[in-house]
């Protein structure tokens, strides 16, 4: 141990730990340059490229998502607009249909009225005609019955005479007139 200290003391000057022996400096430099060369020239540019790609991929994804969102928004608005338009259209159609229905009903009512009036008029005409026919038939029959009755009462045929004299007609016309005036006064 003592000799070790002596040895150290002897070498003290030479082995100052703050004075580097040059071979170690050379090796240190070489070691550092090796690492720096590989990292700076190849490996770090490599990873930088990939990091950039990753960043772009992430930003691209975000952009895509944003685009999708805006598209969805626009589609939604479009859809809403279409829906509103459709509602409007439906309301318009309903209105139109209502109006059309109303006019149709009015037309049909008018038509019905017209037809009813026609039918009534036809009925009236028919009744008039029937009455006229009935009246004329009645007149004949009554005339005949009256003449027959009168003939039977008188005892002779008044038929020809009656027919010629038109007595019966006159009598019936009077009756008619009376009826008409009675109706008018009523």
């Amino acid at each position: 141990m003592n000799s070790a200290l002596v040895l150290l003391a002897a070498e003290g000057e030479k082995e100052n730990p703050l004075i580097p022996p040059w071979p170690e400096v050379v090796i240190g430099l070489i070691a550092f340059v090796i690492v720096f060369g590989f990292l700076a020239k190849k490996l770090l540019p490599n990873i930088n490229k990939v990091l950039e790609e990753r960043r772009e991929a992430i930003e691209g994804g975000i952009e895509k998502a944003e685009a999708a969102q805006t598209e969805a928004q626009s589609v939604l608005e479009q859809y809403k607009a279409q829906l509103a338009e459709a509602r409007h259209e439906a309301a318009r159609l309903r209105q139109e249909a209502q109006e059309q229905g109303a006019t149709l009903i009015a037309e049909m009512r008018a038509e019905g009225q017209r037809q009813r009036e026609e039918i009534i008029a036809a009925g009236h005409a028919q009744i008039q005609a029937d009455r006229k026919a009935a009246a004329s038939a009645l007149r004949q029959d009554v005339g005949k019955l009256a003449t027959d009755l009168a003939g039977k009462l008188v005892g002779e045929s008044l038929e020809d005479h009656a027919r010629q004299s038109r007595v019966i007609d006159r009598f019936l016309d009077e009756l008619d007139d009376k009826a008409t005036t009675a109706e008018a006064t009523r």
């Binding site: 082995e15 090796i27 690492v35």
Partner: protein, 274 residues
Amino acid sequence: MSADPTQVLAFETDCHIFDGCGFPAPGLHSFLFEPLWGNADGNGMYFNKPMLLALLGSIIIVGFFWAAFNKPKVVPGKLQMVAEAGYDFIRRGVVYETIGKKEGEKYVPLIVTLFFFVWMMNLWSIIPVAQFPVTSIIAYPMVLALVVYVLWVSLTFKRHGFVGFFKNVTGYDKSLGAVLPLSMTIEFFSNLLVRPFTHAVRLFANMFAGHTLLLLFTIASWYLLNGIGIAYAGVSFVMTIIMTAFELFIQAVQAYVFVLLTCTYIQGALAEHH
């Protein structure tokens, strides 16, 4: 003898307490190694254990980053993720923070290399069999500090010109008035002469002291292993473990401090003088 660099271990193994031999304390001799090849006495080239560890460390760093970054993927694997985390820590946490993103981008490879190089060289201290921090040999921190120094000086010249360089280095500031000459002298020495020295020695001394501490407790654990000394040896051994864990922390911190200072120097060179 303990000073004999030819020995394989850092101390004599046949010596215990109460055996009549003294404590083989660690010292400067613990940092001397008999060359594996060549002769250390002369001025010729030689090759020793720290050199081997330095080169091996370089290969390990390059190998690690090669495996991680040679064919990098956008969706990273585990190894790439770990390497990316380290890379990102230095890039964002150190370079962008001190120099700024725009100016700093150019120096990222240098700073990343410096950090991982220093860290690896420090790590050798607790890696079994190697167990020697390469950075506790002044030559290695000195080389790194020199690289930074040359970069710093040339950058300052390039950015500010000859007069600007001296203004930058001496911290020229008219408002100081009468104190200006004194301040300039101090700043000149501090920046141009002392700074590279402290930059290197800070790392060197930390690793040197750390290794000595580890050696002290390791040797003591073995040396005390006799009779009643076994109890003390246990304490010493626990201390060895604690100090190893502590060293693990210090190694990372020193590597971080080294690159942080480098960034500060570069930032100073790039900054407009005021």
